[in-house]
């Protein structure tokens, strides 16, 4: 640390070159920050935070098929099941299909299974008592500027009403928010009462539900419980498939796109060019300074110290540019999230993204610094001072 000013001075020996290199590093890590924010947003949707103690039971044929409601008491009776809720995908659209957000008809106890949604007690009570009531996530409320008391008309795509109308109008009685900011991406949802759905829908209600959500009494017994639930309907004409909520969502997202692969491929290309670019800068910097390094050695710096100094310079270059780039990415993500909410999947740049970024900065710094540093370490004072 006591040589910090030496490293710093060496880094800014050629101001323009260092500045340009820093800006290239900055651009690379700005991109890294943004893309990793997207990747994290999708990964979080996979339920890495919440949902570990929940199972979901869908039709084995595909999650678009319904299950009989008669399974409810039988699932409740399975040992290890603490509570069972059920829901139906409604698939209504607000004004234009482009305004897509998930909307689901949920059983009365559904929200009890999802403690990650914080809904004030009196709003919860209002939801219970208002038949046409609906509750929405805070992000969704912000997106359409909805307030409690508003009427929300949704166009049914799957379930017309009994009277033939496609328009379902819900009374907004509650707005919930995510306990954990990481889950804000999933606040973009509307829940309404399953009983109301069942009563008003032309078909699809009655004896069937879309899926069951199951709260486990003991998380460790998840596999056993899942098997026991699926055994209930084995060899019937409505076989079920029970899995953790997390694996269900992960599989669904992987069907949409292999986000990790796309982000990984882009960042691979970016960092490859970055290594070449900063490596070139470091090579130039050391080449010009050979006589200076020789002087350092002459006045007593060991070869080891020279190696360390050059490596430190390279790492400093990367960390400086990278940190500014990621800070910028953080600001961009915050602005985008504040402006257009959660329609763009972006997660805030949290500690884990920063740690990954810092590890990459140090690693790239070491990679690009190692050749010039070894050159500096190996130089012979006599040759270097005489310019050979």
């Amino acid at each position: 640390m006591k040589y910090f000013h030496l490293v710093w001075a060496a880094l800014f020996r050629r101001k323009t070159r260092t500045l340009f290199t820093l800006l290239s590093v900055l651009a690379a890590f700005l991109l890294f920050g943004l893309l990793d924010s997207v990747r994290t947003a999708f990964a979080n949707a996979g339920g890495s935070v919440a949902g570990v103690d929940r199972l979901v039971t869908f039709s084995k044929v595909s999650f678009t098929m319904a299950l009989p409601k008669s399974l409810l008491p039988r699932i409740q009776a399975v040992p290890g099941v603490a509570e069972v809720a059920y829901a139906n995908w409604f698939g209504g659209i607000y004004q234009d299909p482009k305004n897509f957000f998930p909307n689901e008809a949920v059983s009365e106890n559904f929200l009890d299974l999802y403690p990650e949604w914080v809904l004030p007690a009196e709003q919860r009570e209002a939801f219970r008592h208002t038949r046409s009531g609906a509750v929405i996530g805070a992000s969704l409320a912000k997106r359409f500027n909805w307030k409690i008391g508003d009427k929300i008309p949704l166009q049914a795509t799957i379930f017309p009403q009994k009277n033939g109308s496609n328009t379902w109008t819900f009374d907004l009685v509650g707005i919930f928010h995510a306990r954990d900011p990481k889950l804000e991406g999933q606040e973009n949802v509307l829940f309404f009462n399953w009983d109301h759905f069942n009563e008003a829908t032309q078909f699809g209600g009655g004896n069937t539900v879309g899926w069951y959500a199951i709260k486990l009494a003991d998380v460790k017994r998840g596999d056993q419980v899942a098997q026991a639930i699926d055994a209930l309907s084995a060899d019937s004409d409505h076989e079920s498939k029970t899995q953790t909520e997390q694996s269900f969502t992960t599989a669904l997202i992987s069907q949409f796109a292999d986000i990790g692969l796309i982000v990984g491929a882009i960042m691979g290309a970016v960092f490859f060019t970055l290594v070449l670019l900063t490596g070139n800068t470091m090579a130039q910097a050391v080449r010009e300074r050979i006589p200076e390094l020789a002087v350092l050695k002459t006045i007593g710096f060991s070869s080891q110290s020279v190696l360390t100094l050059v490596l430190a310079e390279a790492v400093l270059l990367l960390v400086l540019g990278g940190a500014i780039g990621m800070a910028l990415a953080g600001v961009v993500v915050d602005i985008v999230r504040a402006r257009i909410g959660n329609t763009v999947p972006l997660a805030p740049l949290d500690v884990s993204i920063w740690l990954l970024g810092l590890a990459l900065m140090v690693a790239i710094g070491l990679v690009v610094g190692v050749l010039p540093a070894v050159r500096g370490m190996r130089l012979r004072i006599v040759d270097a001072l005489s310019g050979r």
Binding site: L35, S62, Q255, T273
Partner: protein
Amino acid sequence: MGAAVGLPVLLLIVMPWWILIALVVALAGWLAFTRIGQQSWSVTKVGIATIPQRLGSSSVVVVGIAGVVGVLVALLAMGAGFQATLRETGTDDTVIVMRGGAQTELNSVVDHDTAVVVSQAPQVLHNSGGQPIASPELVVVASLPKVSDGLDANVEIRGVGEHAWEVRPNVKMIAGRKFTPGLRELIAGKNAAGRFKGVSVGSTLKLNGQLWSMVGEFDSGDSHNSEVWGDAGVVASTYRRGSSTTSVSMKLIDAGSFEAIKAALTTDPRIKVDVSTTKEYYNKQSENLTQAIRVLGITVGIIMAVGAVFGALNTMYAAVAARAREIATLRAIGFRGVPVIVSVLLETMLLAVLGGALGAGLAWAIFDDYTASTLGNNFSQIIFAFSVTPQLLWSGLKWALAIGFIGGLFPAVRAARLPVTVGLREL
């Protein structure tokens, strides 16, 4: 200064190919036939000749720009491929009828009576046997494990009516035979075949507890290639759908009668349906995702381009510094500033074109026809191939030129402005 640089760059990126060709020809003419042009060309030649001495730093420009262009072209090729697959699906003279408000087939239910009413519309083409060319179809989704990783994926099963082949004459059998109506037999689209377990000719597949045999493979050249087809009636009984279907696809007498049939069916009081041409129906499905991929591609491209510009600036400033004495000598013996500027710019843009060609070439070699899949509107897999089109290669090249232009301009101006006396003293 910003506008002075920004405007040409913007022009460069939106420029059609023929203007650029004209510019290149004009530049070549200028270099060959005017005195100052000839001077510029000889200075440029010296610059290019010294590139091997600075191979390391010159390759920074080439690789940096190759990276930008490669990523940009690959991402846009993904969007173009997806769009092309859905664009090629459907025609102007076939219509798809679904329940009012349903948006997608999976959401829709069309009961038998409605299907009959719909197919009796006078605008529907009749075949030689005098029957309307209408195919009531039932779309359901089956969760099948992928061959690649064993994870479940949603596969669209389309039960089709007997006239489906006349509605879609582009569907050709490429292996095995068509399914026999009334039997539990399926045929797989070309892209679905081999991608999911049990979806290949000769194997059997368990759907909703019943065994089906795969008897053939078809190629439609469009998004139906991601589907598995069977007889609508048998699919309906397996999935306990009774006599209802999810849509009716019909061939019209001609494309011009669409408005008439749409008006007739949507106002018919007996039924409540939406009518659109199949072309419109499938086109609409590609909009959102294509747009999202474009935004992603261009955002990533711009940020990477900024990084590459600074890399190019570094390289060219270093190149100018290394040649300071030589440039000052040229100035001292009477060369003007213009040839110096032109030579540095040309050298950078040459490196940039090299990088652009490398990046576009790599993207083409790796990603053209690379197959990927995503979840379509029917909650099922749409399999598509990346399409690295000539237009994309071309726009990649234009991005490369724009980056080279900015990266070369400032060092070029510095080189021309360098006082001769200072330059001559440089080592």
